[in-house]
């Protein structure tokens, strides 16, 4: 196991986003995540036989960024999503098109 420390500024990264990235990468690495006042600190454990550990870590960082974006999409679109689903189940079928 090799250990790597990563740090994500709290202003731009939520713990949740980092956790989701860690979950998604849990087949490649494991993480200890801790929250500091101004940063989310992550200790990444990589198996010793990991080929190109630097690439895996870079991918992981990018994944965190994508998770931040996903978080934003969820936040911005949550209302519309609920609206669509409410509409979808409130009325009876239209597209039953075959007829």
């Amino acid at each position: 196991m090799s250990e790597h420390r990563l740090s994500f500024a709290s202003s731009a990264h939520s713990v949740d986003a980092v956790q989701r990235a860690a979950y998604r990468f849990s087949d490649r690495l494991s993480c200890d995540i801790s929250e500091r006042p101004d940063a989310v600190e992550v200790i990444v454990h990589l198996a010793d036989d990991t080929s190109e550990p630097e690439a895996v870590l870079a991918d992981f960082r990018n994944e965190v960024l994508d998770q931040v974006l996903r978080e934003r999409i969820r936040a911005e679109t949550g209302d519309v999503r609920n609206l669509v689903l409410a509409l979808a189940f409130s009325r009876t079928g239209l597209i039953d098109a075959d007829g």
């Binding site: 989701r20 979950y23 998604r24 990468f25 849990s26 087949d27 994508d66 998770q67 974006l69 996903r70 999409i73 911005e76 679109t77 949550g78 519309v80 999503r81 609206l83 669509v84 689903l85 509409l87 979808a88 189940f89 009325r91 079928g93 239209l94 597209i95 039953d96």
Partner: protein, 484 residues
Amino acid sequence: MAKFRGPLAFQAPSAEWQLLPFRFERINGKVLVTNLVGEHLFLSAEDFDQLARNELPTDSPLVRRLRAKHVIREGADELPVELLAIKSRTRYRRLAEFTSLHIFVASLRCEHSCPYCQVSRQSSDKGAFDMTWETAALGLESAFRSPSQNIKIEFQGGEPLLNFELIEEVVAAAEVRNASEGKNLGFVIATNLALLDDRVIDFCRAHDVYISTSLDGPADLHNKNRPRPGKNSWELATAGIQRVREELGVDRVSALMTTTRSSLGRVREIIDTYVELGLTSMFLRTLSPYGFAIKTKSFDAYDVDHWLPFYEEGLDYIIELNARGVPMVEQYAALILKKMLTNDDPGYVDLTSPSGIGIGAIVYNYDGDVYASDEGRMLAEMGDKKFRLGNLHQDSYEEIMLSDALLAPLEESFAPSAPMCQDCAFETYCGSDPTYHYATTGDFVGRKPTSGFCRRNMAIFKLLLDRYEGDAGTRALFQTWAGH
């Protein structure tokens, strides 16, 4: 000419782009974007960046594509919301349909002794492993209680033809019952065809019964998979298929393969066997995980990684055959493509969320036990009755359909709220398969990053999208499959 206004005049006035719910996945330098109902488009990384940073211009081909696919909307545009709602409603229509496939395990006995089969018994004791008429009658009652307008009754085994009298009785009783119920009623016998005789043929002709059989590929492979006295399983199966085609019609028989490790590397031969028999559809099935996985609780990425090249080669070969004018459908791809390219959901058990267990299909075992899926029954035969919903002799229809054994996995595995699936660009194409995840990890949801189910399906989704985007001929073929 002054009368006409230029294109600029018709851009969205404020160009306040709002995001609509979408998910994304980076694939080979491009970004796959799927909207709330699974319509997809690929963006370049730069284009995606514009979207992600909220830096879309007033108008551009990119903006138009995103609007057309309901990924963004302008300010207060209501139309995209309306259309998304209609599409979602159509997609979930399947849920209201409820159980339409009712599997009757007519007998657990079998004259084959397939090593991977977890359920069959080599026994001549009819009393111990055959379904009785009393049990079947209760199963029939339950089937007709289902609110679905379509009822398909499938006889499985073991080898159901070993209890053919029961099949005759059930079909006759179902037809009498249906005279007043008026449902779309259909029958299927899943058999290895070794016992096919005149009586069975005449019966199937008279009652419009379909035959589903097993065909694993070329003779040596099939016979190795399916030992029986005489070592002639393949010969009997192919002769049976031919006989059904000639005496009942080409559309009346379909075949299903089981993939074992010996199949890997031989996918073209397997497909050719189907083509030779005049079959026009096949299902390139995954390696069956149950026996192995349950005993070892083992992570089966190994199996998946060995199986994927098999699938990919097979799919490409089938695409090639079609291009040459040889019709062949790969059913698993067709199921997924229907979900990708239309608003329809074929309701395939493994690929629905909430899971199709108990909803798409329900299994009545020979002894009256009711299972939410065929895999649930297999699990039970190996000693774990987690998916047993109840027993026809002891529990009412309501007790069975509202049992915890059904509701808990349905609720817990709901993919739109499962970790990772929630954010997955493929979620609308995928399913939750709680039986599989339970069998491999002990809980209904599993851990998707290490789940063979997730790994396999994600790879297939990517493969299908890649081929779809790659070539107009394949696109047309896939659209045909999706339209089936």
